[in-house]
Subunit: 233 residues, 2 copies
DNA sequence: ACCTGAACACCGTTCAAGT
DNA sequence: ACCTGAACACCGTTCAAGT
C-alpha cells in the first residue's frame, strides 16, 4: 500500500491562532455572529472543528480574541491621528478619535455585542481609554472630571457600555493596585488616575464607581444641553 | 385497568402564556439569561418542554414576550409619576421617568440585552417614548429637537440602544404612515412627530434618521457639557 | 507538535400521538 | 383544547487516537 501524496492541491496552510481569529472575524462580518460556530469556522479553514481547540482554548477564548483584534484595529487607526499640543485642541482630538472608533465598529457590527459580554477587560481597551485620558488631561481636565467624563461618554466612546474596570470580586485593592502599577508603562494615565483617586479616598474600592451617580451625571449633561437648545428657554 | 386519579397532589395549574412568561422572567432574574432554556422553563412549570409551544410560538416569541413585559412594568411605574403642567417642569419629569426606568431595569439585568436583539419594536416601547415625547413637547421643544434628543439620550432612555423605529426594508413610506396613523390614539405624539417630519421633507424615508448625524449630535452635547465643567475653560 | 473521529451532553423544534 | 414522547438537526466540548 502506497501513501499517496496530495495530488497537485496546494498543501493546506497550517492553522494558527492568528488565522483562526481572522477567519472568525470574516464569518461574523459577512454572515453575522450567529453564524460563527466552531464547525463553520473549521469548514472555512478546511479543517475539522476539533482542530481549532489546539489554537483556541474555547469558544469564549475565541470571542475574547476577535474582540481584542477589533479594538487593536481601532487603536491602529486612532494611532495615526495627531495629538494636539496641550491646550484647547482636546475637544476635536477626542471627537476625531471617537468618530474613528465608530467607523471601525461599523465594519464589525457584531463587535459591541461581543465586547459587552467579555468578562475581563482587554489591554487593548485599556490602551484606547488611556489615549482618550491623555488628551483630556493635556486639555486641562482633572482626573476626577475625566473619570466622570468616561462614564458620560459611555457607549459612545467605544460603541458599547460596560461597567468599566470592574475588578473581579476576588481581588483586593492591594492586588488591583499592584496589577495596575505593573502596567504603568503601558497605560500611564489610567494608572495615574486610579492612584490619585485611591490617595484622595483611601477607603474607596478601586472599582469605585457609583453607577447611580455616574448615570445621573451623564443624564444631566444631556438634559442640560438639550434645555439650552430649546427655542423658548 | 383503572385510570388512577392523581393521588392527593394538587392538580397542576394549566399553562398559559401569562404563566409561561412570568416563569421565564423569574428564571432570567435569578439564574441569568443563559439559564433560560425551553427545557428548564418547562421544568419550572412542572411540564414538558414541548408543551410550551402551545402557548408560545418559538423561543424568539418567548423573548419578545418577556421584553414586552419588562417595558410594561416600566410603563406602570412611570404612569404613576405626575405630569407637570406645560412649562419648565419637563426636565425633572423626564429625569424622573428615566431614573425610574433604570430602577426597573436593574431588577432585570438581562432585559437590555433582550430588548436590543428584538427585530420588531413593541407597542410598549412606543408608549414609553410617546410619554417622554409628550413631556418635552409640553416643555416647549420642537419635534425636530425632540427627535435629536431621543437619539442623544440613546441607551440612557431605556437602558439599550437600538436603531429606533427602523422600518423593515420591505414596507414603503405609505404603508408605514398608514400603520402609524392607525395607532394615533395610542401614541399621538410619536405619530405627530413623524407626520411633521414627513411633511417638512416629503422625500425623506420615515425611517429617516441619519445615524452619523445623530451620533455626532449626542457626542457634541456631551463634549460641550464636559468642556464647560473644566476648571480652566 | 499538530490534527482528527467518534462520542457526549446539551440546544430548539417537528410531528404524530395521546387525553 | 391542551399536553406529551420520540426523534432530528444542530451546538460546544472531551478523549483517545492518529501522523
Amino acid at each position: 500500500m502506497v501513501t499517496r501524496a496530495e495530488p497537485g492541491l496546494q498543501p493546506r496552510l497550517p492553522l494558527s491562532r492568528e488565522r483562526v481569529l481572522r477567519a472568525a472575524i470574516k464569518i461574523a462580518d459577512s454572515s453575522g455572529l450567529e453564524s460563527l460556530t466552531m464547525r463553520r469556522l473549521a469548514d472555512e479553514l478546511g479543517a475539522e472543528a476539533m482542530s481549532l481547540y489546539y489554537h483556541v482554548a474555547s469558544k469564549e477564548d475565541l470571542l475574547d480574541g476577535i474582540a481584542d483584534a477589533v479594538v487593536a484595529e481601532i487603536n491602529d487607526v486612532v494611532g495615526t491621528i495627531g495629538v494636539p499640543s496641550a491646550g484647547a485642541g482636546w475637544k476635536t482630538a477626542v471627537r476625531q478619535r471617537i468618530l474613528s472608533a465608530r467607523q471601525v465598529l461599523l465594519r464589525h457590527p457584531w463587535a459591541p455585542r461581543v465586547l459587552e459580554t467579555r468578562t475581563s477587560t482587554s489591554l487593548a481597551v485599556l490602551l484606547y481609554y488611556d489615549g482618550l485620558l491623555r488628551l483630556m488631561r493635556d486639555g486641562g481636565f482633572s482626573y476626577d472630571l475625566i473619570h466622570h467624563a468616561l462614564h458620560a461618554l459611555g457607549s459612545r466612546a467605544l460603541g458599547f457600555t460596560q461597567e468599566m474596570f470592574d475588578p473581579s470580586a476576588g481581588t483586593s485593592n492591594e492586588e488591583t493596585a499592584a496589577a495596575l502599577e505593573s502596567m504603568a508603562d503601558q497605560i500611564p494615565h489610567l494608572v495615574a488616575m486610579f492612584m490619585e483617586v485611591a490617595h484622595d479616598d483611601p477607603d474607596s474600592t478601586l472599582g469605585w464607581c457609583d453607577d447611580q451617580t455616574e448615570f445621573e451625571f451623564g443624564l444631566d449633561i444631556i438634559l442640560d444641553g438639550l434645555g439650552k437648545m430649546r427655542e423658548t428657554p
